[in-house]
Subunit: 338 residues, 2 copies
């Protein structure tokens, strides 16, 4: 039973904590927050996690709020086999020194640069690269989405070049201070965007160019993908491969799943924790090979698709399972992933 600390109990951190708790070969030894907010309170009172604080000077604030704390983040990581760092992007690099000093392994999220760890992670495409290593980075939600489907297609399609336009949710559902409300924002306005190079950190040698923008929705990202291929592939072969791949869902717009809103409703019907959709849904109607090009559209639940990847990354770093497919299957079963 390995001990996992989650540094940063926000959108991703709280989900990783629950996913760790759902496994039978690892346990949550603590989660951390810097503020005594509703997430701090529910971590302790609803979930029963030991709560450590990122800023020791704020102990009084937690005390005043009546939220019990178990110590500081430095205390927490002493007991851990691995830390999953889910702190905001700018804090990660400072934390790395602390992890090194404590001799604890660490997993970062896609908000950090690949250079911080020199290693990035996707359970399907490059699990082995992180096996036994000290530090890795689970790529961002968008990169995870692109990588899941592209690495499923890669073995049957001789990929020449990938072009993707990523229509991103403006902000997460709880981010009340962010927009846009009624606008389309090229983001970045510079083309190509950084997402293409990020895919290359987990799929070596692939040629991917991306364009990205923000739109006024909070639910999911949406990707429009064009794959130039060198060999002859049938549309049905692509559909079959995507259907066989776990963590990818081929969905039918014609069955009432024609939008990101309906996909989120589907996750509710599946009874998912926090209504999460860990899988990447691909619209069946959109999958189409025309000449030497494959087209498809997919969506990404930005709050949750990386969560099972973090679990697999834990098993890779701690050498708990050498076969990526076995780790994936184990994670999926514990989390109820289709």
């Amino acid at each position: 039973m390995k001990s996992v600390a989650i540094n940063g109990y926000g959108t991703i951190g709280k989900r990783v904590a629950d996913a760790v708790a759902a496994q039978d070969d690892m346990k949550v030894i603590g989660v951390s927050k810097t503020r005594p907010n509703y997430e701090s309170r529910t971590a302790v009172e609803e979930k029963g996690y030991d709560l450590y604080i990122g800023i020791p000077e704020r102990a009084d604030q937690f005390k005043e709020a009546g939220i019990e704390i178990a110590g500081t983040v430095e205390d927490m990581i002493q007991e851990a086999d691995v830390v999953v760092d889910c702190t905001p992007g700018t804090i990660g690099p400072q934390n790395l020194e602390m992890y090194k000093k404590a001799g604890v392994k660490a997993i970062y999220q896609g908000g950090e640069d690949h250079e911080l760890t020199g290693l990035s992670f996707n359970a399907i495409s490059n699990y082995d690269d992180s096996y036994g290593k000290d530090y890795t980075r689970v790529v961002s939600c968008n990169t995870t989405g692109l990588t899941r489907t592209l690495s499923t297609i890669d073995p049957i399609a001789d990929i020449k070049k990938v072009r993707a336009v990523m229509v991103r949710r403006g902000s997460d559902p709880s981010e009340v201070k962010k927009g846009p409300i009624n606008s389309i924002v090229p983001n970045p306005p510079k083309v190509p965007s950084h997402h293409g190079p990020d895919v290359k950190t987990v799929m070596e040698g692939i040629d991917v160019t991306t364009m990205a923008l923000l739109v006024p929705t909070t639910l999911m990202h949406q990707h429009n993908i064009m794959v130039e291929i060198n060999n002859e592939v049938e549309t049905q072969e692509i559909i079959d491969a995507l259907e066989k791949r776990s963590r990818v869902l081929v969905v039918d717009a014609s069955e009432g799943l024609g939008s990101t809103a309906e996909l989120m409703e589907y996750a509710k019907e599946l009874g998912r924790n926090r209504n999460d959709l860990y899988e990447i849904p691909v619209w069946r109607e959109s999958i189409n090979v025309v000449g030497n090009e494959l087209y498809y559209m997919q969506a990404v639940h930005q709050e949750s698709d990386v969560v099972p990847e973090n679990i697999d990354a834990i098993r890779a770093l701690l050498e708990m399972e050498s076969d990526n497919e076995k780790s994936i299957a184990k994670t999926n079963k514990a989390m109820g992933i289709l």
Copy 2:
């Protein structure tokens, strides 16, 4: 002085009426409505247009509302040299019989199929095709946007293939019953979309593939365009060509024009009638040639970009000007287009 009737005084029709009224070589001899709403009232009371009604049985409704009518649509077209048909998509085909019977020329909008007239129109790319003809169709706002920039790029870039992802506004600002509010909707979910073939109706022989979706905004469409080219072209040559082209605006995200909302604010600062932005704004930062591919992002004000095209189409059908660039310049000057 040519006489123009506008059949259908809605989003496009009311703008075409004002644009016709702004020219010195044509005049509005009537506009039509089927309902005594605020648009009917302002057409008569604010703009001073003669109002004709599309459904004669409703004359009493207009009388009750105190809105003066001049007759029926059939009366209106008797006096016209040309009718600009801005009625909803399904009604156009029925109207064609009426126009033929009355011996009046007609211009349709992009909501109709190309097959209705067998001829489609864009002032830059194929003005001559409609010269002296009886019926033509101004292509849709999206097709107009794609065609304006692609036909500007075409003379300097040897275009091999165009890929475009069109992020469409969910509904127009006044369409209170339509959505989506918080969702991304592949629309159509089938790839490729019909927009690519529509570009071919005004740019013969071009290879264009499009994907399209709806997002929760009312202001503008946004296009993400990837142009594969056979020859060597510099990014600066593309920027220069787009800057020289009227009805295209190269805009800087860095100057505070980084979104469709800011572009609409810009139109207000320009003092435009109804805050319209007739030009296609292209983000300078997005224009980038990488190897044999040109990338750029643009926006389309769906309510107004086709309006000047309708004016040029009138001049083409009525043989008022044989040189498309002269018609474009004349239209632009009267409408204050940059």
